[in-house]
Symmetry: C2
Subunit: 310 residues, 2 copies
């Protein structure tokens, strides 16, 4: 069961973007840059730093231009930014972004509710932005949301996900982040989608973007590893979700993913202790403790033994 | 990846025993019986109800005799109780228990610290208790603690776990609960132990007893399913751990396991909504909210969507 697993995995840190965009707290540009630098210091070599959405839609990331402009480049560190449309691309290019992330979803209803357009319309936007980006020498990652379960439509067709994955690659993306947006998927879903895609697309073109709503995220990582997928998104401190909804779930926490991969003997080049330091820093920025299992156990200094403990 | 998974899984509910023994709150006999009945109503057909340890060691379960004596039998429901020694067996037999659970561990240091004897001595106790139980028509389950990682010794030898598993079966146990006592294991550990055991022992003789300290429990369930293991322990509301140690982790929550198995298309006969009701009840008994992902999401009525959610 273990012999065929990848020996090395890439983690894409999305906390500064997918995390902070969903947190109520105001985080200053300098604090954001400090967090990103801590994450890079921990060995994370792909970091999604911000989003060039309209500042009115996501005021938390209204300083995207400054974040990108002021971040120092490092050898081996790839910084990306989310771009929703051509206006966002203009800003991203002006700020000097070298890699952008575009998005659509596999659920028609979710797409309409999330970005107020149809999937077809979102693909038209994707095509226009992607083409201009590639012409400008900027690489493109794609998020495909609700690949497994949609909060409105329920189960999503694996064949539909496979078709969209192929289309997004044809439109210029070099990596498709198959996203379990509400964190409801179990490995059966991951296997089904993976099997539908992997006879058309090679595993290095895929990433898994998991939320940990029901605690299934690491089991979905195992399923992904067993299918040869080597790129996983995560957010330090489990940032994300909606702070106004009690119990809302964030992204799979980077520290939980790193613990898991370390224990699996899979190389990430990421240092767990330093990620925990970054989680502390992120938590103090957003004003709530890290929402990871790893943090609450290790930093809570928990776990003794008691008589008859099984 | 999915085609070879078991179609049906048995859940052994250990909350009333392994959960309540680690909770500070005093729960009355009537409340314990009420909780067990709710769990049976939810479709759980194997419930570990209590422990016949010395009342001074675990005062929370000092009423084991009364719990077993007053529980009404139901067709299809198997009630078990933990028994640490011959004195405990005397009490268990007098109370009318039909199935007992004995225990030892795969780590010498853990065994000495947990039950103040060597593994060899604990096996001698096991032999004496098991023999008398079987002669009295009482069936025996065995917990083998620290099968993967020991808090004192670190990694545990899979070969040692396999040897002990065989020995416990020879001593009269019909099922060995391979226990990740501190919840530190990842699927690599489960695969290693499973592979060492399964060329000597058939999968129906094994159970996995997982704690969810680092969020790896469901990934370990997936590993177990892939090796053909069909019995999994869980505790309603994620009861367990030590309430005095901040962040201490409980057992894998029954409701998280049921959600996972439901979503995997694997039959359990357990009703998730009713388990969540039982989790509410259990939580009010111990005075803290359920420590499961499922409860906090579903009963917290969380999760909306926001613009650009991936």
């Amino acid at each position: 069961m273990m012999s065929s697993l990848p020996k090395r995995v890439t983690i894409v840190e999305v906390g500064p973007r997918d995390g902070l965009q969903n947190e109520a707290a105001f985080v200053s540009t300098a604090q954001k840059i400090g967090l990103i630098e801590r994450l890079a210091d921990a060995g994370l070599s792909f970091i999604e730093a911000t989003s060039f959405v309209h500042p009115k839609a996501v005021p938390q990331l209204a300083d995207a231009d400054a974040v990108i402009g002021e971040l120092e480049t490092r050898p081996g560190l790839t910084i990306s930014a989310l771009v929703p449309n051509e206006r966002g691309l203009d800003r991203a290019l002006a700020a000097g972004v070298k890699r952008i992330a575009l998005f659509t979803a596999a659920s028609e209803t979710f797409t309409r509710r999330n970005i107020r357009m149809s999937i077809a319309d979102s693909l038209a936007v994707f095509r226009a932005v992607s083409q201009r980006a590639v012409e400008a020498g900027v690489s493109v990652r794609a998020y495909l949301s609700t690949c497994f379960v949609c909060p409105f439509e329920g189960d999503i067709s694996a064949r539909r996900v496979a078709e969209l994955t192929e289309q997004l690659l044809e439109l210029g993306a070099d990596e498709i982040a198959l996203s379990d947006t509400i964190g409801a998927a179990a490995p059966r879903d991951v296997f089904a989608v993976g099997e539908a895609i992997l006879n058309r697309v090679s595993a290095p073109r895929l990433a898994l973007h998991l939320h940990d709503t029901y605690g299934t995220a690491l089991s979905n990582v195992l399923a992904g590893l067993q299918m040869g997928i080597t790129t996983y998104d995560a957010a330090v401190a489990g940032l994300g979700g909606c702070p106004f909804a009690p119990g809302a779930a964030g992204n799979l926490a980077t520290e939980d993913l790193v613990y898991f991969l370390d224990r699996m003997g899979i190389t990430t080049e990421v240092d767990l202790a330093r990620v925990l330091d970054a989680a502390d820093a992120a938590a103090s920025l957003v004003g709530s403790p890290p929402r990871s299992r790893q943090w609450s156990r290790v930093c809570g200094k928990a776990q003794g033994s008691s008589r008859d403990e099984t």
